[in-house]
Symmetry: C2
Subunit: 463 residues, 2 copies
């Protein structure tokens, strides 16, 4: 028995009108009178629901009337147009088969639940309107990113999750081990005996695939990563998760301008893809989550992104220091309040800030000729602040080695990375996009816990 | 300066013939005479190379002649057809700019290197023909899988990597912690004090996203996962890695037949996509890695997959027990030798083996009416054996709970999973495809270490 999806009915209704079809789904609401009743059915394939009309001519009329929200049913009947009604069509049911009842304590009822409440049931919340919309858009966003890069011939590289090194010594890391924590093997001098661990050395969960990605860009020219990354930071905010996904494209023979051009094209592509492929979901967000969302996204689609150097940006911000909690001066890192001021008040569109002081950026960024700044870029967008960070990479062996010495980095551990500057080095660039931050931007959702199916945060690792 | 890719030249040559273009890439080989020379250039975008002819009219003629393999150059010149030559065209260079020299100790020379040798330099091996082919096909395979499922409306779900539970108590797991291993916090009774750990409880790296995936199938109907999974097994074989990627689709309102139909369609789609989009690479594998590869894949494309129950399969195998190291009898797990015999000798095409004894399958598989077997399916393919494993899931609350009791599983830990059977349960099915095993199958590569960019195996976690 072939079940027609609700998506198919909405996309291709003419093919099914006045025909007998079978659908399967879950009851969103039910109301009945003496001789007939209405089931509102959602089958998970489409944001909209399907109304089912059933009658007391059915043997199990009484059973149906007693169904609870959440019950699974299979309905056979005729699709009929309902030009007078809110919905375009309904099913006049001939049979309603109860596939799985829903116990009386089903925690999702027809009324609206708070996001906080729904966070306590990550296995059930995808059945609600909000999370149907969020997680379909998340899926489409992921696909749009793959599609964008694949269409341009980028090679998708799976950089490793378990790693023996830490990229740029950024963030706190999770350690990975198979040793028995109740009984850690020790060497004669009382230290942890890593020769007894699975990899015979200390290993962590990756904080970035970039350095590995660069090795592939020097072979394939254009590559991207798309995989999980981890931060063991003790930050309990609406924007931090311990486990999140990152996209990190890396391009050989590309300078900072090429890098920004690619980032802008990618963001616009993804926005367009989601608007085109999830219009019902995006309208829902615009109506119930973030009123200005569609205007903002359409404005971004139609804007040329702005460009400003860090030094120029600091001048602008300094003149407005009375507006900020953290006062700005040259050399400081920009806070979200500054980033949002630049993109929302000054430029009124997305803007790239470039050429940051080298002290606040990573060792691998290309030194500018002024000796003070590096060829970095952050992309700031209205409503969020920084969404993308990238740079041209230092491709000169001596300069990179000198910078590593300055910062006290172990050049032996980074031998593979220095090799890229020794054997056919090219000017090259790349950036990182936090995937969850991108989904928050596209949906207007305010808490990262609500855009990750099973979020991991400090003290929280449920399911 | 816009660099034209070698891929673009091969795909769209008419647009560039007799025009001045600029390309960038890495030197694969070089030979010169007194007044001119040839550079063979590879730019990473296409499997084939580009020949560059340069002359002593250039200022840096001597410098070019001394370039080593691996050097990066930018070449400006005219693309001319070479109807007499092996390659279809070449560049008559006007300028060759050295972007980055290659030091004399560059470990990749023009001669063929062994895969073992190349495994010692995972950061350079993607520059060789074999790994160019492998990792482009890996990328295309990943994309084909996304494309297949997205085109059918499946929702891509990122199931968590760090988890507090273990799916089916399958393989050995890696523990994840932020505690200082030199100084593990202990409780008063001398046990590890997990309240001091990041998540306040023991956590591991996931071995499967299936159970989480099922929660989303009961909301979206059709979902798939595609992410890393981990096994801390001490197996040093050509087929085991500690970190690998898995695809796990899960479908509500789907029985075992629907499941097999989807698996067969997916495999055929991916094979077709790779053959169409990487013909040069696939020809290379067929010529240099695995002689019968293309025939085998084309045969699979054109076959209806076979179907046989485990019980029937065991009868067939028992009659041939003299051919096997491990003798077969009803109740035993099938070894690779048995699987390959079935698909290669008996069916001579891919075959689904169904309805395995419940004792050798996981707790969540749906009990058949015979009380002895479960609605499981493994897909066996020639040359590999098992490539996909799946089942219809037990959707009856009482049966599932009873089976969990039988096996001594903690029902509280699986409360979320039982909830799916309590609130709108549906018949549903899914399967798992090991991504690396799929890439090995498509390329003919024999060692899993050679299809993962940076493989992680026992005692090995380089870069």
């Amino acid at each position: 028995m072939k079940l027609i999806t609700v998506r198919e009915l909405y996309k291709n209704r003419e093919a099914y009108l006045d025909k007998e079809i079978t659908v399967g789904g879950w009851v969103r609401s039910i109301r009945d009178s003496k001789s007939f009743g209405f089931l509102v059915l959602h089958d998970g394939t489409f944001f909209e629901t399907l109304q089912v009309v059933y009658h007391d001519t059915m043997e199990n009329f009484a059973q149906i009337g007693k169904l609870n929200v959440g019950a699974a049913v299979i309905v056979k009947g005729t699709l009929v147009a309902t030009p007078q009604a809110k919905q375009p069509f309904e099913i006049q049911a001939a049979e309603v088969t109860v596939e799985g009842a829903s116990a009386p304590d089903y925690p999702l009822q027809k009324k609206r639940h708070t996001l906080e409440y729904l966070r306590t049931m990550t296995h059930l919340r995808p059945r609600t309107n909000t999370f149907q919309a969020v997680f379909r858009v998340r899926s489409l966003t992921a696909y749009a990113i793959h599609k964008f890069f694949q269409e341009q011939g980028f090679v998708y590289v799976h950089t490793p999750l378990i790693t023996g090194s830490d990229c740029e010594g950024a963030g706190e890391m999770f350690q990975v081990t198979t040793m028995d924590l109740n009984n850690i093997p020790k060497t004669e001098d009382g230290k942890v005996d890593y020769s007894k661990d699975f990899f015979c050395k200390p290993t962590n969960l990756t904080v970035s695939g970039q350095l590995n990605g660069e090795t592939y860009a020097q072979a394939f020219r254009n590559i991207y990563t798309f995989g999980p990354t981890f931060r063991a930071e003790n930050s309990n905010t609406t924007r931090h998760a311990a486990e999140f996904w990152m996209i990190e494209p890396e391009m050989a023979f590309a300078d900072l301008d090429d890098n920004m051009e690619m980032a802008e094209a990618m963001l616009k592509y993804v926005i367009r893809y989601v608007l085109e492929n999830a219009p019902e979901e995006m309208n829902f967000f615009n109506s119930f989550v973030d009123k200005g969302l569609l205007d903002r996204l359409n404005h971004v689609l139609n804007s040329e992104f702005g460009h400003v150097t860090y030094t120029e940006a600091v001048k602008i911000l300094e003149e407005n220091n009375d507006k900020f909690d953290y006062k700005v001066s040259w050399g400081c890192d920009l806070q979200t309040e500054h980033e949002r001021y630049l993109t929302e008040q000054v430029f009124k569109r997305p803007v790239f800030v470039t050429d940051y002081p080298k002290e606040i950026k990573a060792f691998y960024m290309k030194a500018n000729e002024d000796g003070k700044t590096v060829a970095a870029m952050d992309c700031l967008v209205p409503g969020i602040g920084e969404i993308i960070g990238g740079s041209q990479r230092e491709d000169d062996y001596d300069k990179l080695a000198a910078r590593m010495d300055e910062l006290g980095l172990d050049k032996e551990q980074y031998g593979f990375y220095l090799d890229l500057r020794k054997y056919g080095s090219t000017h090259h660039s790349g950036f990182g996009l936090g995937f969850e931050r991108c989904v928050m931007y596209l949906t207007g959702m305010g808490n990262i816990r609500d855009v990750i199916p099973f979020p991991r945060t400090v003290k929280n690792c449920d399911l």
